[in-house]
């Protein structure tokens, strides 16, 4: 996934769409908006980002999961099998992005990239509703995909690169 910070206005539509699509209970969320302001008045710069699980290539959350509930699917999506999660919270501790939360029903929950939609050829809910079209979803291994082209042609960054998790969400800056 790639997210264009130049276009995102931080409206949080991605957050609400995720909540309704995935029946995320009130008070919890799988994605959220972050805002960073630099400089002093009036020389300012601001970046607004929609954040979520980075579906890393190197996954501390999967490594620390004692039951195997946290796993990586063939497509590279990091998921939690709710029935197998014992709610120990090791994955929450190990995630440098704070992307996971305890669901009140007793398991750990997180972004699935809406794989139930992707299987049907749809974009994840957050991507599909975004009024600014600031998010791009697709196959990063395919150089001809829109998302690969965006990542190739724009200046990008990932979050917390120092954690060594090889995050797979690229912010276009």
């Amino acid at each position: 996934m790639a997210i264009d910070t130049k276009k995102c206005v931080g409206c949080s539509d991605c957050v609400v769409a995720c909540q309704t699509e995935n029946n995320v209970p009130h008070g919890y969320s799988r994605d959220w908006i972050a805002e960073t302001v630099e400089g002093t008045y009036p020389d300012l710069a601001m970046e607004i980002r929609s954040e979520r699980c980075n579906h890393c290539d190197n996954t501390p959350c999967v490594r620390t999961c004692p039951t195997g509930a946290s796993h990586v699917t063939e497509g590279g999506i990091v998921k939690v099998t709710h029935e197998e999660c014992i709610g120990c919270g090791a994955c929450i501790e190990s995630c440098p992005y704070d992307a996971r939360y305890f669901h009140p029903d007793g398991y750990v929950d997180k972004c699935t990239f809406c794989d139930h939609r992707v299987k049907n050829g749809q974009d994840p809910a957050c991507v599909s509703v975004c009024p600014t079209h600031c998010m791009y979803f697709g196959d990063l291994d395919d150089p001809n995909s829109e998302v690969s082209k965006k990542v190739a042609t724009r200046k990008t960054k990932v979050l917390a690169p120092e954690a060594g998790t090889k995050p797979q969400i690229f912010y276009l800056i």
Binding site: G39, K119, Q122, D141
Partner: protein, 756 residues
């Protein structure tokens, strides 16, 4: 073979659970892919019902998705719709929270004893009794004072039902705060220049623009969906955005030039831009010569308004002012100086809007690609009814000689005219005796709360119709619970746009509790008032189907498509090169010098008025919007409250240091008139605001505990409380609300009796 990220689509569910190690013995036999995600939504198994959104005035067309049990699960934009292009904003996506909110109005309520405003005295009543009581009061007032003495305040799509009922009853006093508390001055200012008002949605060709100038307009924080979408396209296209705002707004952060102006000095900047654009010949000469009136007068008028002069007023760098003017000139005519929407600021707002209109005229952007396009609206035939009776009096009689250029009803004027001692000539005036209030929380939308309460005291009767209890609800004699937009039909939506179109709102489910749709309530009242001839349809489906069949469609078709788009009658979106045009002004030209304003004794060209600046220790009180909320009406929505459940007061770090304020510290605000906020508000220390101003998001600090709003009660502060200095715009009737100054109270003030 390497598995690519999309390959799992092909692999499908076969591999989805292959890494899973089952630990629960009961589930051991179940393949992993079945254990996973059994409860996810499958769009192909959901039913969808056409609607258009009611969370704000943008009215995006959408689909309401319901599951097998008929439960509403989500809302998705209708791809055929020009307002949403298939994508709702967070409020639209979270619109189902209006339906699910357990604190909705559920039953008709009647205040049987006690005084108005003491909500504890409400008792639940039957629809029969509540409707009878409203009709009896309206009939009595009609007999004793005349039907004109009943006024309707409204906001939202359901207005049309109640407006029809009231016009049939004999009153045309139908007011919406969206005029005098919001876009009024802009409509008069543009009308005086181009012979037509801007209207909604603004016909701005943002997606094709090369340069957009925002003056106090915070697109992205105001989630006017189509405009936010097009601004994003403009950014993609490399358009220049120039933002004038005392706050580093979201739009400012995306701008090439941000002009952090000293509040209340915008007119100086606009006049200096006109000066540069004329003197440095950046204007569209052919366009100005062919279509405008008064160029030489304007040129002479602005000759002293140099950027250097403006710099002394605005605190801006004169070079930056000039640079911005050159950007506009370079982009001309594909440039938009945005007319804004909430423009009731300092009382000279019509003139400021005029200056904006003049800039657009000079740059030749009106009727041009990348500027203002020519919008078209579809005309829907009206279901037959007898002609409305002609009222003997209107709200205008309370203001003899005033507001001749105003074409809408001034809500604050109706409020004023309700208070007898403010009458100019009592024998002439329409002394209001009853208010019907539909979908607008007047105690939050009208400034000067005590004045509104004073007016309410003089009323013989007040009824409120809404989906949610709001502060105004507590002051009603009768309260009617309306079904939310997801549970009701309304009239077809017809909005002007690039192409004319219509949209249907149909109920996705039955109304919860004992709520009823607005059309039904209006018809029930109409029947009780002896106005059957005006309501000769069995139900709204009959009315809609009649209208749709007249235009070659049907209710059945609209239920399937939701939106129907028609061909334009004028085949170009823009004026043709060199086309002969007649504008709706006195001269038939675009009036740089307004003959209409001159006739009424106002300045024919905008002048600069110096407005007061804050005294020491005080800060200008600025308010605005957040993208997840619409005024105060959404703060109790469980989805949207989840995103933002209170406002904060933005304070520059220098000011914070002076006062010893830290992020999150609760303070009370006190304004120049000694009014103290009922609730404290948390400080947000941020570089994004000037040090002579503070900022809050509008619509919080609800104080409605008697009516049962638990989620939003006392969360944040109510900005309307601080707006007691109202700077009236004599031309448009707009209530300027940006002339208030506040200071901080660090300790909880002694409690005075609450006003609301």
């Amino acid at each position: 073979m390497k598995t690519t990220r999309r390959d799992f689509i092909k692999i499908g569910s076969m591999g989805a659970g292959s890494l899973v190690i089952a630990t629960s013995p009961l589930l051991n036999w179940v393949p992993g892919f079945l254990k996973e995600d059994s409860d996810v939504l499958d769009d192909s198994k959901l039913k969808r019902t056409a609607t258009y959104c009611e969370v704000c005035f943008w009215k995006c067309a959408a689909w309401t998705y319901t599951d097998k049990k008929g439960k509403i699960v989500k809302l998705i934009g209708n791809e055929e719709d020009q307002q949403s292009n298939g994508r709702l904003c967070p409020r639209g996506t979270g619109g189902l929270g209006m339906y699910y909110d357990k604190e909705r109005l559920k039953k008709p309520l009647i205040r049987r004893k006690g005084k108005r405003g003491e909500s504890d005295y409400f008792e639940e009543a039957s629809w029969e009794e509540a409707l009878d009581l409203i009709a009896e009061n309206m009939d009595r007032i009609k007999k004793e004072h005349g039907p004109e003495c009943v006024a309707l305040f409204s906001h939202g799509s359901g207005t049309s039902h109640f407006a029809h009922m009231l016009k049939a009853f004999g009153s045309t006093n139908i007011a919406a705060p969206s005029y005098a508390q919001c876009r009024g001055p802009r409509e008069v200012g543009f009308d005086a220049t181009f012979g037509e008002s801007v209207g909604s949605p603004e016909p701005l060709d943002i997606r094709n623009t090369k340069c957009m100038v925002l003056i106090g307009s915070h697109i992205g924080e105001n989630m006017h969906n189509g405009q936010v979408q097009e601004m994003s396209q403009a950014i993609d296209n490399g358009a220049t955005i120039i933002t004038v705002d005392p706050r580093f707004s979201t739009a400012a952060s995306k701008s090439k030039i941000w002009l952090p102006i000293k509040p209340a000095t915008d007119m100086a900047l606009l006049l200096s831009w006109i000066n540069v654009i004329i003197n440095d010949e950046l204007y569209d000469k052919k366009y100005v010569e062919k279509y405008t009136y008064g160029f030489d007068l304007l040129k002479n008028h602005v000759k002293n308004f140099t950027p250097e002069w403006a710099a002394t007023e605005t605190g801006l760098d004169p070079n930056k002012i000039r640079e911005a003017a050159y950007e506009m000139g370079a982009a001309s005519p594909a440039v938009i100086v945005h007319p804004g929407r909430h423009v009731t600021w300092y009382g000279d707002d019509t003139q400021r809007s005029r200056a904006i209109a003049i800039l657009n005229a000079l740059l030749g952007s009106y009727g041009r690609r990348g500027g203002f396009y020519i919008a078209e609206k579809f005309k829907i035939p009206k279901f037959p009814h007898p002609p409305y009776p002609k009222p003997k009096r209107t709200w205008r009689d309370a203001f003899p000689g005033s507001y001749k250029l105003v074409h809408e009803v001034i809500s604050s004027g109706v409020c004023e005219a309700t208070i007898p001692n403010q009458m100019v000539r009592p024998e002439d005036t329409c002394s209001f005796k009853a208010w019907l209030v539909y979908g607008t929380n007047l105690l939050s939308s009208l400034p000067d709360i005590n004045n509104t309460l004073e007016a309410i005291k003089h009323l013989e009767f007040i009824a409120v119709i809404d989906t949610m209890p709001m502060e105004i609800t507590g002051w009603a004699d009768v309260v009617l619970p309306e079904a939310t937009y997801l549970e009701r039909y309304d009239m077809l939506r017809s909005l002007k746009h690039r192409k004319p179109s219509i949209a249907l709102r149909a109920p996705a489910t039955k109304p919860l509790y004992d709520s009823k749709p607005g059309w039904w309530i209006a018809k029930q009242l109409g029947e009780r008032l002896g106005l059957h001839e005006f309501f000769k349809f069995e139900n709204i489906e009959e009315e809609l189907d009649w209208q749709l069949k007249k235009i070659g469609s049907s209710l059945e078709e609209m239920k399937k498509v939701g939106v129907k788009t028609f061909d334009r009658t004028y085949d170009d979106l823009y004026y043709r090169d060199g086309e002969e045009l007649e504008f709706g002004t006195n001269t038939g030209k675009i009036e740089l010098y307004s003959t209409a304003l001159a006739e009424e004794g106002y300045d024919a060209m905008p002048v600069y008025t110096k407005h007061p600046q804050p005294a020491s220790g005080f800060y200008r009180f600025i308010y605005g919007r957040a993208p997840m909320h619409t005024f105060g009406k959404t703060v109790n929505n469980p989805y949207l409250a989840d995103l933002m459940d209170e406002n904060s007061v933005w304070v520059n770090p220098k000011v914070a240091k002076d006062w010893g304020l830290k992020n999150g510290k609760e303070v009370w605000l006190e304004n120049q008139d000694g009014i103290v906020s009922t609730f404290p508000v948390k400080v947000r220390v941020t570089e994004r605001i000037r040090s002579d101003a503070v900022y809050v998001v509008h619509g919080f600090g609800h104080n409605n505990k008697g009516m049962g709003l638990k989620r939003s009660q006392g969360k944040g502060m109510n900005d309307t409380e601080m707006i007691t200095n109202v700077m009236n715009d004599k031309i448009s009737g707009g209530t300027g609300m940006r002339g208030n100054f506040v200071t901080f109270l660090l300790e909880e003030p002694e409690k005075k009796e609450a006003t609301v």
